[in-house]
Amino acid sequence: MSPHDLSLVHTGTVIEEDSLTLAQLCRACDVHADWIISIVEESIIEPQGENSRLWRFSGASMRRARTALRLQRDLGINLAGIALALDLLEELESLRKQIKTLEHI
């Protein structure tokens, strides 16, 4: 890498302010649109927008979709099970955060 590259500063976009289209989410997760549509139908992730052409996905949706994919591939859980697992995992995470906060007081 040349010193020139080191001085280059990359400016990205924050997904929460400029959310992802269906095509962008598919690429980010490396899956086909069908799979994303199936997890939207299972309401594992909830896009903004009326129909799939207008859908916009948040960064949190991207994280949920990628976790869902890993759970499906590694553990063979079906979509309904994934939806339940994700909700419980999020609840667990928020309870753990609360414990951490309470331990301080």
């Binding site: 080191l6 990359h10 976009t13 924050v14 962008q24 553990l75």
Partner: protein
């Protein structure tokens, strides 16, 4: 190269049935899956488990592994005996997995390289867009308050022309936008995997996490500080200097404040689009009665107050 005891990894004996192997795998996979598990080194354990199962679930590979003999100990230096796999034909049962898995040297010596299929690149055509990549980066709370430029180093496994996986390191200077929250993602166009042919490179997604701060805690856009105060400051009220991530402020403590009381400084949390709040949580610190003078003050309090903090307990 070290011998790996796949039975020990799965906690099974050598004469376990195929059905039991599957059940054991399911149970352990749930326990060590990195998305679910809070165990230490869950990721390493899950990989090791996946490799063990890859061999033991497939009767052909299992039989080949078994005939290496049961006298090997895990971690022992291992060389496969000549012609050890003579007469075994691996049909590639588990080799078609979609994921790029990195198996141990031990596995690859026995069963060949399996993580990447040579045909993989072809499926998108010669001029394909590169894959998007993902990484998590840790920044300081102050970076979000002031905005910052951070140098991050990323390591990516890449396949070279000989089909071997190599870890490639690179450094990037990233602009951290002011007001970014933990859990938000920054997308860097064109910084993912290179495309093939004339295809565009993929994008790079960075998930933001905050380093633990010695005294601030962050919850969404709000920032919390535990502030030690003296009993007289809490009881009589006071004006105290309080540190915040963008400079110290004078805070008025109301009289008769209690332990754990929260005081809010509106808009002094993370400078997001809707700025968060800054909360001061009062922690009453007691001076020790370690001099005659201090003891006299406590004794005087004992005499002057009729105070029962255990009233609610009914005693």
């Amino acid at each position: 190269m070290q011998y790996k005891d796949y039975y020990k990894i799965m906690g099974l004996s050598r004469n376990t049935s195929q059905d039991e192997i599957k059940r054991a795998y399911r149970k352990l996979a749930r326990k060590y899956h990195p998305d679910v598990s809070k165990e230490k080194d869950a990721e390493a354990k899950f990989k090791e488990l996946g490799e063990a199962y890859e061999v033991l679930k497939d009767p052909e590979k299992r039989a080949a592994y078994d005939q290496l003999g049961a006298n090997w100990k895990a971690g022992q230096d291992f060389r496969p005996p000549p012609n050890w796999n003579e007469g075994f034909e691996f049909k590639g049962g588990g080799f078609t997995s979609d994921e790029e898995r990195a198996y141990s040297d031990f596995f690859e010596q026995l069963f060949g390289h399996s993580g990447f299929r040579p045909g993989d690149k072809g499926q998108y055509g010669l001029h394909a867009r590169g894959q998007d990549s993902h990484a998590k980066i840790y920044i300081d709370l102050e970076d979000s308050f002031n905005g910052a430029t951070r140098n991050i180093s990323l390591s990516t496994p890449e396949m070279n022309a000989q089909g071997q996986v190599q870890i490639k390191h690179r450094n990037l200077n990233i602009k951290i936008p002011k007001g970014i929250k933990p859990g938000q993602h920054i997308r860097l166009t064109g910084q993912g995997s290179p495309g093939s042919g004339t295809g565009q490179p993929g994008d790079l997604f960075l998930e933001i996490a905050f380093n633990n701060h010695p005294f601030y805690r962050v919850s969404e856009t709000d920032v919390y500080l535990d502030l030690p105060v003296t009993p007289w400051e809490a009881a009589l009220g006071a004006k105290i200097k309080v540190p915040t991530p963008n400079g110290s402020v004078d805070l008025k403590i109301p009289a008769n404040s209690r332990q754990g009381s929260k005081l809010r400084l509106t808009g002094r949390g993370l400078p997001a689009q809707v700025p968060g709040d800054f909360y001061v949580v009062l922690q009453i610190a007691l001076p020790q009665a370690n001099t005659e003078q201090a003891k006299a003050v406590y004794k005087n309090m004992q005499k002057e107050f009729t105070f029962n903090p255990r009233q609610a307990l009914g005693i």
